[in-house]
Every structure is written in structure tokens, then in C-alpha cells.
């Protein structure tokens, strides 16, 4: 195993363990711990992106998820600030159902991944500048112009939705 492969397994293990801890205790007991563990998980994930030469993705992952989304999560936690009693166990059955679905999905995914492994797809060389800002900009400008503008609209709708919901309770 090369250095890169060892690094991959370490990072992948990190992602799995930290994401598991988000829902299991301590993350499951205290929402704030869950949110913080999620950040650690995102960090390992951005390490995986770096291994894939998707450098820009890796940095944006940290900027948006570890920075912005995290702040949103913590503010929501502060807004609700549920006590241990309120977190209670009334949603257990639903949680179990969701869990079963997730496990089935994971099993299917694993089977698919194993199948692709046996296909033996030949490795293709990366195009020059792959993963850099320029490459992303190029695709964004030429191939994905409409989605790019639509994202703007989508985020506008998100802001309007947030304001409408918050204003009702104010």
C-alpha cells in the first residue's frame, strides 16, 4: 500500500467514526456535540477531496460547511436549546424506521461499489488543471450556466422562506 492509500483509509475511517459519533453518544445525547463532530467529519472529507485532486472543493467544503453551516446549526441549537427531557424517546419508532432504510441504502451502495471494483475500469489521466479554480470556473461559465443562475434564485427563495417563518413567530 502506498502512502496515499494509507492516507485514504485513515481519512475514510475518520469520516465514518466521526459521523457515527454524530448520532451515537456523545453526539446523540447533546446536539451541540453532534454539530461539532460533524465539522470534524467534514474535515476528514475535505482531506479525501484533496486526495482526489479536487483542491477547490476541499477548501470550499471547509469554508461553507465548517464555517457557515456550523454557525447555522449552533444558532438553531441555541434557539431550541432542548433539555435532555425534551429530547426524550417519543420519536424512537420513526428513528428506527429511518435507520432501517439507511442501512438498506448503505447495503445497496456497498454492493454497487463492489461490483464496479470487479469491472476493472482502466484509469484515465486527469485533464490539465483538474480541480483548480480555473477548471471549475470554466465549467460553470460554459456548461452549467442555467444551474448557476438558478442557484442564485434558489438561495433567494431560501432567504425569503427564512424571513417569512421567523417573522411569523416574532
Amino acid at each position: 500500500m502506498g502512502f496515499e492509500q494509507i492516507l485514504f483509509w485513515l481519512l475514510a475511517l475518520g469520516v465514518i467514526v466521526t459521523s457515527a459519533l454524530v448520532v451515537l453518544p456523545p453526539g446523540g445525547k447533546n446536539p451541540l456535540y453532534g454539530a461539532l463532530l460533524l465539522i470534524v467529519s467534514f474535515f476528514f472529507m475535505s482531506g479525501l477531496y484533496v486526495l482526489l485532486f479536487a483542491h477547490t472543493m476541499a477548501v470550499l467544503q471547509i469554508l461553507v460547511y465548517a464555517g457557515a453551516i456550523m454557525v447555522l446549526f449552533t444558532f438553531v441549537i441555541m434557539l431550541l436549546n432542548l433539555s435532555k427531557k425534551e429530547l426524550g424517546d417519543e420519536t424512537r419508532t420513526i428513528a428506527k424506521g429511518v435507520g432501517v432504510v439507511a442501512v438498506v441504502a448503505l447495503a445497496v451502495k456497498t454492493a454497487l461499489v463492489i461490483e464496479t471494483q470487479t469491472l476493472n475500469i482502466p484509469a484515465k489521466p486527469l485533464p490539465a488543471g483538474f480541480g483548480g479554480v480555473d477548471a471549475i470556473a470554466d465549467t460553470l461559465f460554459h456548461n452549467y450556466l442555467v444551474p448557476f443562475e438558478l442557484t442564485g434564485v434558489l438561495l433567494l427563495v431560501a432567504v425569503i422562506g427564512a424571513v417569512v417563518l421567523a417573522k411569523r413567530t416574532l
Partner: protein, 130 residues
Amino acid sequence: MNGYAQLACYLVLGLVLGGVIVVLPQLLSPRSIGRTTENTYECGIDTVGSAWMRFSITYYVFALIFVAFEVDILYLFPVAVAYEPSGWRGLAEIAAFLVILSLAILYAWRKGVFVWKSHRAPQSSSGPNA
């Protein structure tokens, strides 16, 4: 080793060194603990209640608007880099995007989100903002 691996090493080494800095004084410093040494530093008398109370929803609205803008900006980074060779079409695209972005601010502004009103959270005895 590429720059990103180096950066990761910086983070790890920084963490280790920071840990050393925090642990080192444990060996040097005196350890005397009185009756009130470990009290919460709020005021002279005993602290009433925990600090973990509910906060105003206004914080949440700001956070959500921020996330939306942050994602917008994230798209603008590559666009700004590739702007030079994109011609007038590039200007039209970036202008449309920025106008949509401004609409979000305009809407929130007209709805009075940026006017920070004080209102009490139902659970806490004192609101987070005066």
C-alpha cells in the same frame, strides 16, 4: 508533498504545540484551590441558573441569510477568477447573479429583519439583548 498535505501537517503540529502550551503551565503553576476558586465568574454572589438558555430567533435569521450569501459568494469565486476572458456575456451573467443576490437583502430589509428588536425568549428570565 504538495501544499495541501503540508497545510494539514501545519494544522496537526499547531494542535500539538497548542496542547503543549496549555499543559506546560500545569507543571509550573501553583495549585491552590479555595472554596470559591472554581465558581463561575459572574458576580460576587453565587450564580443563579445555567448559562445554557434559549436565545433569540433573530440570531437564527442572520445565520440563515449568512449561509445563503456564503454559498452565493462561493459561486462568485470561480466566476471572478474566470471573468477576464468571458466577454460581455460574462458581465450579463455576473450582473444577473448579483441582482438576484441584492433582492434577498432588499426583501429582508423591507421586512425589517435588520432592525434588531428586543423580545423575550419564553424560557429565560433575561433576554439576550437589551
